[in-house]
C-alpha cells in the first residue's frame, strides 16, 4: 500500500515580526517535513524552538514567509477550519455545558447535530451522564477528554495535540496516554503530538521529530523501534534506554546555549 502524505511542508520559512520588545526572530528556514496518513508522530524540543509555531503554521493561524504547506496532498493557503487543534489548556467555555462545548465545532460549520449522538460519544469517551455538567464540575483528566472529543468533532483527518497532558498528575497522565492510543487506533486518523516528555513521545509515537536548532533548518526524524500494542515496560528495553539517553543529550546540548 502506498502511504499518502497527509501533511507536508516544502521549503517553509517563517519569522516573527519585530515588536517594540523584540527583534525579528527567524524560526524556520527552508524546512521540509511531512507526516503520513494514519501516523502518530511527536514533536519534541526545548521551549522557544518553534514547536508551537509549527502548529500555528499548520492550523493557518500563521502563514509562511515562503514555501508551501500541503494538506492531504494539496497546497492549501486557507487552512483555518481544516485541521483539528487541541490546545494545552482544555479551553472549555465555562458558561457552556459539556454537551454545548463539544458541539461548538459543529455549530461553527453550520450543522445541527442531534444531542443523542453526542451523548453516546461522551459515554464512549468515559463521560457517561456528564452532558449537562459544566466544565467546572469535571476533573482535569475529564476536561481533557471533552476537549479531545471537541477536536475530533471538527471532522478533520489530522489532529494537532499541543502538550495536552502536561497539566495532569502522573497517574492520570499514564491513563490518558493509554486511552489516547486506544482512541487513535479506533479512529484511524493522523495525530501530531507536541510534548517535552521524552518517555511520553517514545511510548506514543511511530516517529519523533526533534526541533533542536535556531532557526530550524532540518527537522530530525527518529523512528521508534517498537511495535504495537505497547506497554510502559517496553520503554525499559536496552535499545530504548539508549535512544532516550541520546535524545536527552541532544536536547540538553541545545538547551545550554
Amino acid at each position: 500500500m502506498m502511504t499518502t502524505k497527509v501533511l507536508e511542508f516544502t521549503n517553509v520559512s517563517f519569522h516573527y515580526q519585530a515588536t517594540n520588545a523584540s527583534k525579528p526572530t527567524a524560526i524556520f528556514k527552508q524546512v521540509d517535513w511531512h507526516v503520513n496518513e494514519g501516523e502518530f508522530v511527536s514533536i519534541i524540543g526545548p521551549s522557544g524552538y518553534g514547536k508551537s509555531t509549527l502548529f500555528r503554521l499548520v492550523t493557518g493561524l500563521e502563514n509562511p514567509d515562503s514555501g508551501e504547506i500541503s494538506l492531504n496532498g494539496e497546497v492549501t493557503e486557507k487552512r483555518l477550519g481544516k485541521v483539528g487543534y487541541m490546545p494545552q489548556q482544555d479551553l472549555l467555555m465555562p458558561w457552556r455545558t459539556i454537551l454545548e462545548n463539544v458541539r461548538l465545532p459543529l455549530e461553527l460549520q453550520g450543522s445541527t447535530p442531534s444531542s443523542d449522538e453526542i451523548i453516546q460519544l461522551l459515554a464512549d469517551f468515559g463521560l457517561p451522564g456528564e452532558e449537562n455538567a459544566y466544565p467546572g464540575n469535571l476533573s482535569g483528566g475529564m476536561r481533557q477528554r471533552v476537549s479531545f472529543l471537541r477536536t475530533i468533532l471538527t471532522g478533520s483527518t489530522i489532529f494537532l495535540l499541543d502538550e495536552p497532558f502536561s497539566a495532569l498528575d502522573a497517574i492520570t497522565r499514564l491513563t490518558m496516554q493509554e486511552w489516547l492510543i486506544d482512541q487513535w487506533q479506533k479512529l484511524d486518523k493522523t495525530i501530531v503530538f507536541i510534548t517535552h516528555d521524552i518517555d511520553e513521545a517514545l511510548f506514543l509515537s511511530d516517529r519523533i521529530f526533534v526541533l533542536a536548532e535556531k532557526p530550524v533548518q532540518t527537522i530530525r526524524e527518529v523512528i521508534v523501534p517498537l511495535s504495537r500494542p505497547r506497554t510502559m515496560r517496553d520503554l525499559a528495553r536496552p535499545e530504548l534506554i539508549e535512544l532516550k539517553e541520546q535524545l536527552i543529550s541532544e536536547l540538553r546540548s541545545e538547551a545550554r546555549l
Binding site: L80, G84, Y85, M93, W95, T97, L108, A133, Y134, T154
Partner: protein
Amino acid sequence: MKNITSYSWSLLFVVILLGLWEISARLYDKSFLFPSPSAILIRLWELKAELFIHHLPPTALTILIGLSISIIIGSTLAIAMYSKKPIEQAFYPILIASQTIPVIALAPIFVLWFGYSIWSKVAVTVLITFFPITVSVFDGLRSSDKNLRELMLTMGASAKDIFYKLDLPSALPSFFSGLKVAVTLSVIGAAIGEWLGAQAGLGYFSRRMMTQFDSAAVFAPIVLLSAVGIMFFLLVVVLEKHFLQWRNHQ
C-alpha cells in the same frame, strides 16, 4: 440558614446603630431637627397613602426608564469601541473626561431643556448611570480569552461567531457588576433630578418637607428611596443568578 447567619453580624450592627440613634434623638429631644428612627417610621406609616400612590410611581418610573436608556446607549457604545479601534480612541478619553463633569451642577440645564417633565429626571439618571455600564461592558468584552479566540479560528469561526459565542458570554459577568453599581447610582440620579423641579416623586416630597421643618417626613421618603434601590439591586442579583448559572458549578 446559611444566608441568615452570614447577614447576622451586619444586622446586629444596624440594630446597634439604630438603638444609639434612637437614644440620642430622645435625649436631644428636638424632633423637628433630629427625629428618632421610631418617629420616622410612624411618619412613614401616616404618609403611606400619599407616598406609595402619589410619589413612589414617578420615581420608580424615572429609575426604570433611565436605566434602560443607559443599558442601551452604554452597551452599544461599548460594543462599538470594542469592534473598531478608532471609535475606542475617539470615545474612551471623552468618556473618562465626562466623569469629571459635576453632573449635579449640570442638572439645572436639563430642566431648562426638558422642563418639569419626567425627561429632565431621566436625563440626570442616564448621565450618571451610563458610565459604569459602558466601562463594564467594554472591559468584559476585552476580557474574552485570546486563546479561545484562536481555537475558534482554527475551527473556522467567523468574526460574527466569535462575537456572539465568545465575546458576549465573556462580557456578561462584568456587565452585571456594572449594572449593580448603576442601579444604586440611579436612585441618586432620580432623587437629584426631582429636587430641581418636579410635581411628584420621593426626592421632590423629601425636599418639600424640609421647607416645612418636618424632618421625620424628610427621612420617610428617603427610607423608601433606599428600599427601592435595594429592590432593584436584588432584582439584578436574581437576573445575574439566572443568566450566570454556570458560576455555581465552579
